[in-house]
């Protein structure tokens, strides 16, 4: 087999050096009844590269992709165009097959990228500092709540109803085991975000207020007002950004008073990938530096006085602090952080603004076209690139019918809130710079047919 370089002669010579008769002798410590004497029965044996490729290609071909179909899905994962250079560069072996940069002398490539990434994320989010990535937006959201409870020494958090239900469920799962008390406002299909309800729910026991921006239906909360209300009670505002491209047009949460900004970086450089691997972004005020979860890369000098970078403040982390660590995270999302950073370096602030402008403009055109379909209304007052429609029939059925016509027509809110019959007629629609006018026309026409 092509991945196993040892030959029979090698094995024989090595056994001789070891002083063993057979490889089986090396497994002497395994309880005899647990040792399998041959390949596990019922499982296929090895296969050629060609056979494996064919098998996987056949499975790939069974899926309807965003490249084949007019595509309008969002709800926490966005399809943007990724320049060819990005994927080419992340496949360089020195990036792809490198290890975590614990030996900085031979990892300056990875470390400099992380330093640049941290700076990009901090600036994008309007914060002082950022970490070197977490797993994804949902776990970053949970880690932020955990940090807020440590920092404030309170254990209650208020979660806006505009928070992505998967993120809220993840936070609820973690809170159950941490003993934290979550006030989870309900998802509501209103024209505006639930700012007033969030503010009303903050009290003197609140560690953190969690608000998604733009929210799961694409509405844009007034973070400054919520920040003021949170700070008045000694609570932290955690802003959650699932579509970072939005920050090309709307203000960064840090500048509006958010103490911690977390998000999902998948939209830049990473791609849809059927749900993962994605990229957790975490940024905050400098005063929380030593309470931050995740790896941090810092600038320093070497013995010759040359600038260099190292992982730093490791004493917060699991391998040193063990049960008192700020997180148990070890492996994070390094290669995705690289992809994000490369894409953002190609865009620059001007390119990000342009990308955001086109995404928003296409969303506006989409809303106009779909709002004109009989029985369909746009719920939102405003949005960046994602908005909600109210349909005359259950949205899940409509989406199935659209898929049968070769169109990926958005995400029914019921997919995220299956127990809410009152939300069954809400459809989430996202558009980006990849959305062409004929895609919009195709969706509008198909929607008209399906609803007729």
């Amino acid at each position: 087999m092509r991945m196993l370089p040892l030959g029979a002669a090698d094995r024989a010579a090595m056994l001789a050096t070891i002083g063993a008769q057979a490889i089986d002798d090396l497994f002497v410590d395994v309880p005899a009844e647990a040792v399998l004497h041959g390949p596990i029965p019922g499982l296929p044996l090895h296969a050629s590269e060609r056979a494996v490729e064919r098998h996987m290609a056949a499975l790939s071909a069974q899926n309807l992709t965003a490249e084949q179909a007019p595509f309008f899905c969002g709800a926490g994962a966005y399809r943007h165009h990724i320049p060819a250079s990005v994927d080419h560069l992340i496949q360089r072996g020195e990036f792809l097959t490198a290890y975590t940069p614990y030996q900085p002398e031979i990892a300056q490539g990875t470390l400099q990228v992380l330093f640049e990434f941290q700076t990009q994320v901090a600036r994008l989010f309007g914060c002082d500092v950022a970490n070197a990535s977490l797993y994804d937006g949902s776990t970053a959201c949970w880690e932020a709540i955990a940090m807020a409870t440590r920092v404030t020494r309170r254990n209650r958090a208020v979660l806006s109803g505009g928070l992505h239900p998967h993120y809220a469920e993840t936070a609820a799962t973690m809170a159950r085991f941490a003993g934290d008390d979550l006030c989870m406002l309900p998802t509501r299909a209103e024209a505006d975000s639930d700012d007033a309800a969030v503010i009303a729910a903050i009290d003197g026991q609140t560690a953190a207020v969690v608000v998604q921006y733009p929210d799961v239906m694409g509405r844009i909360p007034d973070l400054a007002a919520i920040a003021a209300a949170a700070h008045a009670q000694g609570a932290l505002l955690i802003a959650v950004v699932t579509e970072p491209v939005a920050l090309g047009l709307i203000e960064s949460p840090g500048a509006l008073g958010a103490d911690v900004v977390v998000g999902e970086g998948q939209a830049l450089g990473v791609g849809l990938q059927f749900g993962g691997p994605y990229l957790g972004l975490f940024a905050c005020s400098e005063k929380f530096l030593r309470q931050m979860p995740g790896r941090l890369c810092g600038e320093t000098v070497d013995a010759d006085g040359k600038r260099g970078f190292v992982l730093t403040l490791s004493t917060r982390e699991q391998h040193i602090r063990r049960e008192k660590a700020t997180s148990n995270i070890c492996t994070n999302s390094g290669l995705c952080a690289l992809a994000f950073s490369i894409h953002l370096s190609l865009l620059g602030g001007s390119g990000l603004e342009r990308m955001a402008s086109i995404s928003h403009s296409r969303a506006v055109a989409t809303a106009r076209a779909l709002g004109a379909v009989a029985g369909v209304s746009v719920i939102n007052h405003t949005w960046f690139n994602e908005f909600a429609l109210r349909l005359p029939r259950p949205a899940a059925d409509v989406v199935e019918a659209l898929a049968a016509r070769g169109i990926l027509g958005g995400v029914p809110l019921s997919r995220l809130c299956p127990d809410r019959a009152d939300l069954a007629d809400v459809l989430l629609i996202a558009a980006t710079e990849c959305t062409d006018m004929h895609d919009i026309a195709a969706l509008a026409a198909a929607l008209g047919e399906v609803l007729a």
């Binding site: 490791s314 004493t315 040193i320 602090r321």
Partner: protein, 123 residues
């Protein structure tokens, strides 16, 4: 003022019912370059043996235990900017916190200077 020591290499200098606490020269030599000192909150009530402070060096985080019980009245303000004071002057300018003593008889269980010196010599 009398100074006492613990087996975990903390010192405590007593002035009536108040005291100042730090770590010894031996302790700082074992920790390596100190990068950060986390001190207890002013007003915190400590029980003897509690981890009251954590001292970070590059590769380790070491607990500093309260030698006696009491209430923290002050922390060393210089340590935030200059944690290296604990390396350079652990038994003077690198002090960690001041406290009131809840039960001065707890001092009886501590080592005096000679007993501590003997302890370190045997290490």
């Amino acid at each position: 003022m009398p100074r006492y020591f613990t087996r975990d290499h903390e010192w405590i200098e007593v002035d009536g019912a108040a005291a100042r606490v730090g770590i010894t020269h031996y302790a700082q030599s074992q920790l390596g370059d100190i990068t950060f000192v986390e001190v207890p909150a002013v007003g915190a009530v400590l029980v003897r043996g509690d981890s009251a402070s954590v001292i970070d060096s590059v590769k380790a985080a070491s607990d500093v235990y309260a030698p006696v019980g009491g209430t923290v009245t002050a922390i060393n303000p210089a340590l935030e900017e200059a944690p290296d004071l604990v390396n350079s002057a652990p038994e003077s300018d690198g002090w960690l916190w001041d406290m009131d003593l809840a039960d001065p008889t707890e001092l009886d269980d501590l080592l005096d200077a000679q007993a501590y010196a003997d302890l370190v010599a045997a290490l």
